[in-house]
Symmetry: C2
């Protein structure tokens, strides 16, 4: 009990000290970055600049004087078939036939399973090289943990990764179900809600479109939506001609929130994003680019534009600080618990793009644009790695990276290895310094989590009247 | 106890009735087929003829009136690095550098893991289509079993296959170890031994070379050995020049047996087979055929010739009936137990090429030559499938097939699916009839196992004086 109080007190001190310096900036700036009207050339420059700016330059060499102690992974599932609930939308909105998906709606595809297996194989080699987990070892006790949301694609992703990483170990993939009392801590729903909260969140969302709000967003996304429509020849589909989906060029979009629910974007941007989702998956699954674009000649920049619409949709839906801090709250707690689990060497938590996205937004990630990806924030199968490294003086440091396959690595099913590694991108966080090797001190890293938890408590108190004590 | 006696009695009756009709033929003919001096064109004709002759023409259509009830799989491991104990031989016997294997000596490679995962994915789709195991099910109780020899490559093969076949299930891969009392029933060693036995077995082995015995085998294999030597430029290697390995063109070969041990081939054929093993693995791993042949231009028929030497080596080492019936005995028992396990829907037992080979030889398989493979008996990752199908009258029937990847499917890492299935070859057995759909009756199939077990008991009694009762 005393121990616990002490930890609590330390956490509060850390949180308050960081809050004082950063919370204002953080709360104001939000988590969005993409502006679809930025010209292409500019986008590339931005990507480069962003890499230099927010990537903290950590390389393998930079960690050579440190010993890897722990890796906590938060992963998006790998390639899936289009979502069941949306299945009819992309099907209805084109006169063309989508490829034959190798899985039922929303489930992991064959290619997704193979790529995640191989990602696990890469981790096996990397963790062995770093001396954390010998490649043929069978972890004991609490050394490793695999957890997934109950969806088939999440559990299957965890399974394939586990087989590739630890082929000799019998791994239990835990997931919340009716027959156990595990918490669904990665569920992307609102954890608290009030009318005032919804109104303020709505304002943050609208602000993404500038002074013009949703009209600004409509203007900004119109070109990308047009490209998506043209690629699937939407105007030749019976459903579109019937008017059932309105006019994606002139209809606006909206934002809906309800207690305990996942927020929702409505209107043209949502419809376009559902078609874009299927298009991008088809582009990943089919190495024939022309066939993937239903016979149209698309440049890679066109695919990036289609991916950009998806990213913008994700930002609108989950990127407002009031939204991400709310939704990600139990996950942030779980992640901090994992990081502080002294026995744990490796954790793998698997859910969705929005899980990765809300966690990073809630933690105050600095804007970033992933290179060699058409999904520049949370590409398929992407993983956040929270890595703890110990220096020779006994001090612990953290590196927070995104690891993902490049477009080509996905489409060509490249075999990843230490010589052909996946993409790795160093993340930075608002108000958090790094040392000369680009690493974050343990106090700062845990402070990052604590300030996010404190922010949640503050919002909870503000909007629902629940106090910190009451919530604790 | 009564039940058991009854079963025993039934088994004996079945065994005796089949023995009477077939044991003489069976004991005389052995399990060898390859003769490396057969001209290439002839070999292809033989392969075709063999396919028509011994393949029983079972197609998917043939089973459409039957319901699949059970599948027992005996699998060879997938792609590995060259064996540790032999590692120095292929390394020493070439001036060239072998490719960088993606695994330690004898362990499953990255490509092997990916291909086995995908084979599991294929089985997942096939078993779902046949209505035996729904693709996202989690088997209960004794429905499934995964067992492997303790070697890394065997356990890892089982793991990858299991992940691909049952991505949602936590699978226990059982294997014999010091910490459990599981029997190593796939160990390729002699189960009984005496001087008389060794002398008789030796005669069977020598007979494979015709009247000239091992000299005949030397003559027959000389061209293939020369091709292997030329491909690795063996004569330019320091080790070969030093005389350490003798003269593979003129030295003979021999056969060694000892109690409880794996039999061994000695001399030129063994040395050549160790180099051929690494060459074939390099050919599978490296899609650049010229690089795989160290810069030489080899035709596919050349690779088949190199593979043929491997097959001949396997036949000499394990193909004599006295040897295969002896070694495979506990596995034959285990397989029959699996087939008679009423709860079991699917079993996966994983070991080596010799495991698959000795089991088939012991069961009296009719000679076969697998198409589209350079390892025409037990290609990498090959599986024997014992499938039980029930007809509409309630009668049970069996199909025994080999399932494997074609050369191209291995080298190009083709993604297997119901539309792009692996190779499937129907096996036939001496003295066993098939029905109009090419299926074997339950009594005949179990009789096949019983006659093999009876043959073992007979040999045991003959060579060691142990009687059936004593052994039982």
């Amino acid at each position: 009990l005393t121990m616990k109080s002490k930890t609590m007190k330390e956490k509060l001190i850390r949180a308050v000290s960081i809050l004082l310096s950063t919370v204002t900036v953080f709360a104001l700036m939000g988590c969005e970055q993409a502006n679809l009207n930025v010209p292409e050339a500019k986008t590339e420059t931005t990507a480069e600049a962003s890499k230099v700016e927010s990537g903290d330059g950590v390389t393998e060499d930079a960690t050579s004087q440190y010993q890897l102690e722990q890796v906590v992974v938060l992963s998006r599932h790998n390639l899936r078939a289009p979502l069941s609930s949306n299945g009819s939308v992309p099907q209805e909105l084109t006169p063309h036939q989508w490829i034959e998906w190798t899985a039922k709606s929303s489930e992991l595809t064959t290619k997704g399973g193979i790529q995640e297996t191989n990602m696990g194989q890469y981790f096996r080699k990397w963790l062995d090289k770093e001396g954390l987990i010998p490649e043929n070892s069978i972890p004991e006790g609490e050394e490793i943990r695999f957890n997934a949301r109950a969806k088939q694609r999440c559990r299957a992703t965890a399974r394939y990764f586990a087989a590739g990483m630890l082929p000799l170990a019998d791994i239990n993939i835990e997931y919340p179900s009716d027959s156990n009392d595990l918490e669904d801590f990665m569920k992307p729903n609102l954890k608290f809600y009030s009318d005032d909260y919804a109104a303020d969140a709505q304002k943050q969302v609208e602000a993404m479109g500038g002074d013009a709000g949703f009209e600004g967003l409509a203007d900004e996304t119109r070109d990308a939506i047009k490209l998506i429509m043209d690629t699937v020849d939407m105007q030749d589909s019976e459903a579109y001609k019937s008017g059932k989906y309105g006019d994606l060029m002139t209809d606006g979009s909206g934002y809906k929130m309800a207690a305990d629910e996942e927020p929702d974007v409505t209107g043209a941007i949502k419809t376009a994003s559902q078609v874009a989702d299927a298009l991008i998956l088809q582009y990943y699954e089919n190495t024939d680019s022309k066939a993937a674009a239903f016979g149209h000649d698309l440049e890679q920049s066109d695919w990036a534009k289609i991916g950009g619409l998806m990213t913008r949709y994700e930002e609108i839906k989950f990127g407002a600080p009031l939204v991400s801090v709310n939704i990600a709250h139990p996950l942030i707690q779980e992640l901090e618990d994992e990081l502080q689990n002294e026995e744990r060497k490796f954790s793998f938590l698997c859910a969705h793009d929005c899980t990765v996205f809300t966690a990073l937004c809630a933690l105050g990630v600095k804007p970033y644009t992933l290179p060699d990806s058409i999904e520049t924030r949370t590409p398929i199968g992407v993983k956040i790695l929270f890595e703890r490294w110990r220096d020779q003086a006994g001090q612990a440091w953290y590196r927070v990276d995104l690891v993902y396959r490049s477009i080509e690595q996905i489409r060509e099913s490249s075999v990843l290895s230490l010589d052909n590694p996946p993409m790795r991108y160093d993340l930075s966080f608002e108000g958090v310094e790094t040392n000369e090797d680009g690493l974050i001190s343990e106090a700062d890293l845990l402070g990052l989590f604590d300030r996010t938890l404190a922010e949640y408590d503050e919002l909870l108190a503000k909007y629902t009247g629940e106090t910190l004590d009451k919530a604790a």
